[in-house]
């Protein structure tokens, strides 16, 4: 369902052009769980941003279902994200002026869906934060904040969930629990999961592992077919 071919990303920096992704192709099947691994600075986040339509590639194509998202303009990509994609970030990215409930309601409201409050309350109950609805991010621990973020990621019932090092800012045990939660919700909703991680153990739990180094795919381990 998500596919990219000969993807390149070059940015201009003060010291000249910097090539981050150097021609990269992959294929992610619907409902799959995919881990993108690699050393820091290898271009994982950049790849995630491109796949999620947050940024445009310098070269190559990205297909989501039958749509070449690299040909969409910013507003069209925004609509696409709103309808089909969910996000979890390393640094949680909750709005600290909003309560947990309001944070989860935000994507639903932006999608102009009804019953945002009810849906958000349900989601927060699923991540076991039903009693913390009116708490502000500052009043929650890191793990709790990430649980709110996970609830928020599922709020618009996405087809694909992108997670950029979701446990990177958490201690081991909390991280493990967050991962359990993420996988459980993912299974339940049948979402495709694209996960960027350092964590080998975590990567092993995914059906497909893509190892990135210096902007190239160095190995793909998959339970199913190799990428095209």
């Amino acid at each position: 369902m998500l596919r990219c071919t000969k993807l390149k990303k070059t940015v201009t920096t003060r010291t000249g052009p910097l090539s981050i992704l150097k021609g990269l192709s992959l294929h992610i099947k619907k409902g799959a769980t995919v881990a993108i691994t690699g050393p820091s600075g290898s271009g994982k986040s950049t790849l995630l941003g491109l796949l999620a339509g947050l940024d445009l590639p310098s070269e190559g194509e990205i297909w989501l279902n039958d749509i070449a998202i690299n040909h969409l303009n910013e507003d069209q990509r925004a609509i696409l994200r709103c309808q089909k994609l969910g996000f979890v970030f390393q640094s949680f990215q909750l709005l600290d002026s909003l309560t947990a409930l309001e944070n989860v309601m935000l994507p639903i409201e932006l999608a102009e869906q009804p019953n945002a409050r009810l849906a958000a309350t349900n989601l927060l109950q699923q991540v076991k934060l039903g009693d913390r609805l009116q708490h502000y991010p500052a009043q929650l621990s890191g793990g709790e904040q990430q649980r709110v973020a996970i609830a928020r990621a599922f709020a618009n019932t996405p087809e694909i969930l992108f997670a950029d090092e979701p446990t990177g800012n958490l201690d081991l045990r909390t991280g493990d629990r967050i991962i359990e939660l993420l996988f459980a919700l993912n299974r339940e909703a049948g979402t495709t999961l694209v996960l960027v991680t350092h964590d080998e153990k975590l990567a092993q739990r995914c059906q497909q592992q893509l190892a990135l180094d210096d902007g190239r795919l160095i190995s793909t381990v998959a339970d199913a077919q190799p990428p095209c």
């Binding site: 940024d55 910013e74 925004a78 002026s97 909003l98 999608a111």
Partner: protein
């Protein structure tokens, strides 16, 4: 969203700054208007009108028709010296015959009984009546209710004349005063060809009507006629009024500048704090238009709230100003006038558009990718263009507010100079530091590097603060100078009251009485009864006015 951001506090700052701008404008302009009206009214009481034509002859009837065409209210005064006679004595008197509409401004004070307080009246004596000063009653040895002869007619004394609004204009006359109706003047037959009579034609009305009438009069008036306004009649009051007005204007204009700066800073802060919000909302599918709409809505509600709060606050400021000056002038604190509200609306819109709108537009351009890369798309608020647009709108606003281009320009030139000097020296300092950096070590180097990285920001902020301080200092200096000049207008120990016409037989008693009053005073000087030399009068300085001082 508004409510949510409100809790975050950043909006509160912006709201406070905007409200303050509005409050300053409303407060000061409403107060200035009020002060102007009050002082104008009060000073026009010295004329008993807004404008007066002084003439040694009757003026042509079509002049009055012309005045009527301009919807001016009118009154007439004929003043002459005449002998008043009772059975017991005669006395040369300064008689003023007034039309029934007199006075147009101010009030008369009379007593209906020999004892008791004075009462205020808005019109003069009726036909057949005459009002005399107390001393005239004494000199004629009569009481209220008696009749006095004036020329060929007899008038009944119905009141004691305590004060008339335009008395000052006839102060030269030391003869006792009497006030009668113009209707009785013909019957007295005192005015003969050749008698010394002064005619005063009083006008009151709207400013524009008055100046149209004045326009009409131009070229028609002769050397024996003069057009009197408060400036010619009471130049000291007029000057003081103008100064006070100019000071308030300056204060208000600087106030707007300060509020503009406050709005600019808080809007910048606000938009910086909202980068993550925007990136996240975009990541979740909001497009640029939606973001802009959202923030504009916020700005709109903010403007409305700021106007309500600012208006109330401004009203309070006006009240405070009125209270502070209450001991000098009585300023009626009334409604919020519509002009002030219009001014406030304009201020709110201009300030928000000039200072809050640009950062919000930059905000809406933040790329959604920022959710993955925090260093990305920090809003590069275009410092220079922001400065220019803020500067221009500030100029326009100040100009509109003060209606005074020289004032606005000199303020701006001052501001730009400060800006250039302070901003430039900070810039240079930072450059120099880079040159010297190899000398710096460790922590110091880190600090310098960070300073330099935010060089533009730092220079801007420091400059803004120094500008603020300059503005405040200017205001303070101007205020002090103004007050000092004001006080310097009168020499110390200037007398407030004079005693004149003290009979030689009463001098000793008088001196004792004055001592008993315990008021600073000079000695009694002998003088010719008709002398108009103020030094020859008895000086008596003191407040409050001692009503008992009378001769």
């Amino acid at each position: 969203m508004l409510v949510r951001d409100w809790r975050a506090g950043e909006l509160r700052l912006l709201l406070a700054a905007t409200s303050l701008a509005i409050a300053i404008v409303i407060g000061i302009s409403a107060f200035t208007n009020q002060l102007k009206t009050t002082i104008n009214n009060q000073s026009h009481q010295f004329l008993a009108a807004d404008r007066v034509i002084n003439s040694s002859q009757k003026i042509a009837g079509d002049w009055l028709i012309a005045a009527e065409r301009q919807h001016l209210r009118q009154a007439r005064e004929v003043t002459f010296n005449s002998m008043l006679a009772s059975g017991q004595g005669i006395q040369l008197t300064r008689v003023k015959a007034v039309s029934s509409t007199y006075p147009l401004r101010g009030q008369l004070q009379i007593k209906k009984h020999a004892t008791g307080p004075a009462k205020k009246r808005v019109s003069g004596p009726k036909t057949g009546e005459i009002w005399l000063e107390q001393r005239l009653l004494d000199q004629l040895k009569i009481d209220l209710g008696s009749a006095v002869e004036i020329g060929d007619t007899r008038l009944r004394v119905t009141a004691i004349l305590v004060a008339e609004p335009d008395r000052a204009s006839s102060l030269i006359s030391i003869a006792p005063h009497a006030l009668m109706s113009l209707d009785d003047l013909a019957a007295t037959r005192v005015i003969q060809p050749g008698s010394r009579v002064s005619y005063r034609y009083l006008f009151a009305g709207r400013k524009e009507d008055l100046s149209r009438f004045r326009q009409w009069l131009r070229g028609r008036m002769t050397d024996n006629q003069s057009w009197v306004n408060i400036r010619t009649a009471q130049p000291a009051i007029a000057t003081a009024l103008e100064r006070a007005e100019r000071f308030l204007l300056l204060a208000g204009t600087l106030g707007i500048a300060l509020a503009g700066i406050a709005i600019a800073i808080s809007a910048r802060r606000y938009s910086q704090r909202h980068c993550d919000h925007v990136a996240l909302m975009k990541c979740f599918g909001a497009n640029r238009r939606q973001i802009l709409k959202l923030y504009l809505q916020q700005l709109f509600w903010l403007a409305i709230m700021a106007m309500v709060i600012g208006s109330l606050l401004g009203w309070g400021i006006e009240g405070l100003l009125a209270r502070a000056l209450g001991q000098y002038v009585h300023v009626a604190v009334t409604r919020l006038d519509s002009q002030a509200i219009a001014m406030a609306t304009l201020t709110a819109i201009t300030c928000l558009l000039a200072f809050a709108f640009p950062p919000l537009v930059t905000l809406s351009a933040i790329p959604p990718l920022r959710v993955l890369r925090q260093d990305l798309g920090n809003p590069r608020t275009p410092v220079l263009s922001g400065l220019i647009s803020g500067f221009l709108s500030m100029t326009l606003l100040m100009w509109f507010y003060s209606q005074n281009l020289p004032l606005t320009l000199s303020l701006l030139i001052g501001a730009v100079t400060v800006f250039a000097i302070v901003g430039g020296s900070i810039w240079l300092l930072l450059r120099w530091q880079r040159g010297e950096q190899h000398l710096a070590t460790g922590r110091w180097r880190l600090a310098l590097a960070s300073l330099r990285r935010h060089r533009g920001q730092n220079a801007l902020q420091t400059t803004i603060f120094s500008l603020t301080i300059t503005l405040l200092l200017t205001l303070f200096l101007v205020r002090t100078t103004l007050l000092e000049e004001w006080q310097a207008q009168l020499p110390a120990k200037t007398p407030n009251h004079f005693l004149i016409n003290i009979l030689p037989t009463k001098v000793t008693a008088m001196e004792q009485w004055i001592k008993a009053q315990n008021t600073p005073h000079s000695d009694l000087y002998p003088g010719h009864p008709w002398s108009s030399d103020p030094d020859r009068r008895h000086h008596c300085q003191g407040t409050p006015q001692t009503e008992a001082i009378k001769t």
